[in-house]
Symmetry: C2
Subunit: 266 residues, 2 copies
Amino acid sequence: MRRRGGRPPQGQPVVERAFALLRSFDSGRRAQTLGELARRSGIPRSSALRLARTLVGVGALERLDDGRFVVGLRLLETASLAPRGHGLRAVAMPFMEDLFHVTRQHVLLAVREQAEALLVERLSALDAGPVRYRVGGRLPLASTGVGLVLLAFAPPAVQDRAVAAHRPGEGDDRLHAPSDLRRALAEVRRGDYAHGHQSHPGPMSTVAAPVRDGRAVVAALSVVAPSSGFPDAGYGPAVRATARAISRRLAEEAGRAGPPAEGRLP
Amino acid sequence: MRRRGGRPPQGQPVVERAFALLRSFDSGRRAQTLGELARRSGIPRSSALRLARTLVGVGALERLDDGRFVVGLRLLETASLAPRGHGLRAVAMPFMEDLFHVTRQHVLLAVREQAEALLVERLSALDAGPVRYRVGGRLPLASTGVGLVLLAFAPPAVQDRAVAAHRPGEGDDRLHAPSDLRRALAEVRRGDYAHGHQSHPGPMSTVAAPVRDGRAVVAALSVVAPSSGFPDAGYGPAVRATARAISRRLAEEAGRAGPPAEGRLP
């Protein structure tokens, strides 16, 4: 099924096949046998083995004692240089720490990646309520606080597609119809923050605010907490003030020559 | 110079060249022009452009408005699945938060990658003293607290090479000669923790302790703080207790079927 209707994977350039192999890992599948790798990536077993060995050679994969493959630590070393990921994170992290210190709830930082959000950082106390999202993982734009902020400041075409695709019952309790989502996005732009409430899996509330780099919205920051005792009036200003502090630091960074703050540490 | 005495880079398999291109980025060089990419990776300009376009296509690179290339956010998405990186981090993070909350100093989590340590996580307050190391970056084994712990529990061959390569004046103030390092490693194994003091760039102290997964030492945890007022007797037990708490959780995870904790969140 996977290969019907498209160019067969073995016809792809080898670099693309290598990344198809890397993308076959996900949070529920962090270790895979050669057979699983081949099946999930649609690459014939012999090619998959050759590619996997090359990827082990460059450190993008590692092999466990039991022969299964896992994503390699050296890939994290390169990936940590992504300006929109750890570069942003390096600037935001101390401010996020302070927000976490004050709230002791989930503190999230996300950026938009096409029609989804990608979670760059999450701080969570051991006893904080469960959340669905992991660092490096994706979140829906239309049903999370950070997603609503990112979507509200996305290009109109991205918003139009998200509104058209919106289905009742998805995400936030208040957003039943596409027009509700359209209205919510306008509210976010007007107030410069988003708030949201979900009933499933448990009643959770969130406040999110935009982070700017002096020119555009580049990320969104939020606090997520159980709805019982979620003091909107308390978390809201804290989240918004922290997002502004991060924005000010990012704008300072952008105004300077040279690498971002972390690269300049002694 | 770069190409003398070895196989010329254009003779490498294309996947290896793609990763050579990705490795040409570092913390001081997060954005590169095509010319810089070609020069730093040793790949001819026309091949470098073709490769860079392919890497943009799979999201491993992104192109800025000014035409320069940066590491792409989607690489972070895959890299975050590395069990030795974010997998470990997901389990350790809440405990690290608590340690950070108590100390308000730098809290570091590192793993060994061959003859160096790789920093998986660092929590730092806005007003904490400067540290040299960034998340995803490398640290020397013989001159950092986390490094000494990782080295003390590394295979004998790795220790022998590190001791043989040790030069006076490198790293910790007390470790002048190879024999000092050898003795320090024995002390770490005996006490199950490391402490260290450096004078440069400023007087900093550290206490580090091993993190185990039920079978072996898989990481090291430390607190790093200015030496003035570094209460060894206070931070030491806190670091060691936290490392044990992370170890216990890791052992529980290892004893269960299925993906690590974060993958199981609702």
